[in-house]
Symmetry: C2
Subunit: 336 residues, 2 copies
């Protein structure tokens, strides 16, 4: 190696060849490519899909201000110190500009002596194809480069974010005392996706009340039958991320949940479900592209003009357009 930094290869193959040997800049470039989407991103996904399917994915989700980023950083330090190579994908709903704090973390963590960890923020806007495709593609890149486990951090507001959290092997929901956070988490649908709860800022007044609120909600959801199919009741861990308290206990509960998932066969089912969802998202994207092109062509313009003038209904126009699009067998499927 020379003293000056080498220029990065241009091709996904070249980048991946260097990334798997531990070159961090190449890992970063690959992540940028999959974040942008498009043809190059598809090439990266094609190169990384078969490397491994054994990486463990942990979701960390909670309201803004719950301290989940700090808690994630604690987990990363702990894991890196134990000889793991953890990676974090922080899905940040705000603009790239306000993602600065997380980028700051990334630099700090990767400079830490002996730490082999990678923290990357991903904006939720401006993607071709959207987060639904970029997140699994980024997980594959980390996986191919030997990072394990992968922690996906999302803000637990909005359906997209909850969906992303739900695709993890183990999902941690972070709540804080005294803010009605537990009730809010329940409303946002987070209770249903939680495998482990972290009551963070546990040194604050009301932490035990929050714990009891969660226990009560779990009791109620047990009665209504919404418990995990395999009969797992989420553990509740008290943490104070700013002090580092509770991070080892939280990791122990994540591992315990993993053991449970493996023992009952649920891990394989969750992963198959994740692939199914990814296939579905890609089908939707391909169809959306096809519809965009079709609607820009003269036959579609004619149908839309007819619907605008009231000659046919929008429903009839849509049915005719879809019928032009679909193969005969597929047409039979919608009009049996």
């Amino acid at each position: 190696m020379t003293g000056a930094p080498d220029a990065l290869p241009d091709s996904p193959e070249g980048l991946l060849g260097r990334a798997v040997t531990g070159d961090r800049r190449s890992v970063g470039r690959l992540l940028t490519i999959v974040e942008r989407g498009g043809e190059l991103a598809d090439e990266v996904t094609e190169l990384t899909h078969d490397r491994s399917n054994d990486v463990y994915v942990v979701g960390m989700t909670g309201a803004p201000g719950s301290g989940k980023s700090t808690l994630t950083a604690r987990l990363v330090s702990l894991l890196a110190g134990d000889g793991h190579r953890p990676a974090v994908l922080a899905v940040d709903p705000s603009s790239p500009l306000t993602g600065g704090a997380i980028l700051g973390d990334r630099i700090r963590m990767s400079d830490g002596a002996g730490h082999d960890a990678f923290i990357r923020s991903m904006a939720t806007r401006g993607h071709q194809g959207g987060l639904a495709l970029a997140v699994p593609a980024a997980i594959r890149v980390f996986d191919a480069c030997g990072f394990d486990p992968i922690i996906v951090e999302t803000v637990g507001v909005g359906q997209v974010e909850v969906d992303i959290a739900a695709t993890a092997d183990t999902t941690v929901v972070v709540v804080t005392p005294g803010t009605g956070d537990a009730v809010q988490a329940n409303k946002a649908g987070l209770l249903e996706v939680a495998d482990v709860f972290a009551v963070n800022k546990a040194d604050r007044p009301g932490a035990q009340d929050t714990r009891r609120d969660i226990e009560l909600m779990l009791d109620l959801s047990h009665i209504s039958g919404s418990e995990d199919v395999a009969g797992h009741r989420p553990a509740i861990v008290m943490t104070t991320a700013t002090e580092g308290t509770g991070a080892p206990e939280l990791w122990a509960e994540i591992v315990s949940h993993r053991v449970h998932l493996e023992a009952c066969g649920e891990l394989a089912r969750r992963r198959a479900g994740r692939v199914r969802q990814e296939v579905r998202d890609r089908v939707d994207q391909l169809l959306a592209t096809t519809v965009d092109r079709m609607l820009a062509e003269p036959p579609a313009e004619e149908e839309i003009a007819a619907a605008t003038s009231g000659g046919i209904s929008p429903a009839a126009a849509a049915a005719r357009l879809v019928s032009q699009l679909l193969d005969l067998d597929a047409r039979r499927r919608i009009s049996p």
Copy 2:
């Protein structure tokens, strides 16, 4: 007519026949049908699409607590008193249970002496096909029953709500003083869809500051070229809905915007754009149904199993499934 209320007809045709003669229960039933979606809803849409395309649609949007419901009620009283037959579709993002306040308004308004108005709330959840289809279908029902104008009230948070507001002929954005509301509205993308601003609660301190904030944002958006294609600058009206102050001035600005739209040909373009969007939403729904069925069949299960085992990538599985779905011409469109 007998003293006891008649049973409502079962068929959309029967209901519409009575609704157009002014039977309010039949109007309500038709709205319930289109809100639920499905085949009956499609029948209603087919019956109502060609009645008229000349109804005027006004969007009223703003943050929760901005007083837009009260302001809407003031407009309705004003219009009904002037011999119009206004209808309101309140798209309520909370659950049907908390829609009670709006339902209360409905009863009060329709019992008012001489008022021929119809106020209806629509929940944003639990629709087959979603709001994107239910809102235009409800507008058609009101139109076919002779209501005009139609005021669509949405909470201006969330992309769906902003999209609905944007499909109106004239969109009113309601902001309040002293809460940074104008800036929030800007962030939520409401500035771009506003044709008229109402600064409500104008008797509060800071109302003139809010007005200046809006003027400033309009100046800036003018510079950046995001102004209406036809060069229209949104008017700003000061209102105090609880007192009724400003409602006549607000209506005058809405009418003035309408005159502007008609004069420059923009009204026809907006309506064509609305129909185009509706056709697109219906195409998307038909394709989603088709994909659901396809994914439940054995050939799709095989592709998903191959992707889960790492034999092929999810992208390749998706491409094969889409290719099975599409007609040859459509396949050429995605792989030129």
